[in-house]
């Protein structure tokens, strides 16, 4: 019980070294360096090495952020759904926290996709936004994952939060194939797939290499962010448990203290 009470606020005790107060590890630091170096190389490739495209002109340089961020957003959302199914099946805390971290990162990446896409649309279509099938379904997907985060934030009890958010996460993931196929199913202003739509990619040479490299650079960045966000979620759970244990210990300590006699 003394340990629990002493743990109440570690910040009031002797200050641990700053290096110890981190979600970093050797692996995450290596990943972080890889992310920074590859992002720097990507900037050089995108702005110096590659030229403008015959059809897209200079705006192809937006593709080097737009395409990898949307692909990695889908990947995060699929990971979120896998974690949700895993949680409902095994009731694993790891799965719930992984699902949460992936869902939040998916929202961040899809937000970037929507903004970069609207800037690209302003160049290509002359409008930031059109109610096109691809854009509308992507906005809907974004809002569903914002809803997922809202459900998590609005439910304080951990088990209820995990179950409810898992159900929302699985439902939201059902929209991913609709978003992906929307350019094929409905008449759309949005171009069809640049890379994987056919066996022969529509771009070639340094442009193709830069686009492929952008997946590597944003892939490292996403992996780094996911690792740290998962650890933050883990710490938040442990801190909440610790607070609960301390509160129980305090109540027990109060109950065992002799009552003061008031004369």
């Amino acid at each position: 019980m003394t340990d629990l009470l002493a743990r109440r606020d570690l910040s009031t005790g002797p200050e641990p070294p700053e290096a110890a107060l981190t979600t970093g590890s050797t692996g995450s630091r290596i990943l972080g360096v890889c992310a920074l170096v590859s992002l720097a190389i990507l900037v050089l490739l995108a702005f110096v090495v590659t030229g403008q495209d015959v059809n897209l002109g200079e705006s192809i340089r937006i593709m080097y952020v737009h395409v990898p961020t949307v692909s990695l957003a889908y990947l995060c959302m699929i990971l979120n759904a896998v974690g949700a199914v895993w949680y409902l099946w095994k009731r694993s805390e790891f799965a719930d926290l992984l699902s949460h971290a992936a869902g939040e990162l998916g929202v961040v990446l899809l937000g970037i996709t929507l903004i970069s896409g609207s800037l690209w649309g302003r160049i290509t279509w002359g409008a930031y936004w059109v109610w096109d099938a691809r854009l509308t379904t992507t906005a809907l997907l974004f809002l569903m994952y914002v809803g997922y985060l809202a459900v998590r934030a609005a439910t304080p009890e951990p088990r209820s939060r995990a179950v409810r958010s898992a159900v929302v996460g699985i439902a939201a993931a059902c929209l991913i194939p609709i978003v992906h196929e929307s350019v094929q199913w409905w008449a759309s202003l949005h171009q069809s797939e640049t890379l994987f739509g056919t066996l022969s990619p529509k771009i070639k040479g340094t442009q193709l290499f830069t686009l492929m490299f952008s997946f590597v650079a944003f892939g490292f960045t996403t992996a780094w962010l996911l690792m740290h966000r998962f650890r933050v979620a883990w710490l938040a759970e442990r801190a909440a448990e610790s607070e609960l244990e301390v509160a129980i210990a305090e109540r027990r300590a109060e109950a065992t203290e002799p009552a003061e006699v008031v004369s």
Partner: protein, 54 residues
């Protein structure tokens, strides 16, 4: 840097291109900063033996 600036020809598309890249860097950088800061704050409340990556 000079090569980068020399490569950028000012056309009407450039504000949007730089805007897209700038927003990407700002959002990812801001999110990374907030995650690391939240991690540092929560690490103060959790004993080292419960931080399994240490």
């Amino acid at each position: 840097m000079i090569a980068l600036l020399a490569a950028i020809k000012v056309t009407s598309q450039w504000p949007f291109i730089l805007g897209a890249w700038g927003v990407t860097v700002l959002i990812i950088g801001g999110y990374a900063f907030s995650v690391v800061r939240r991690g540092k704050r929560l690490s103060r409340q959790v004993p080292p033996e419960q931080r399994r990556w240490m």
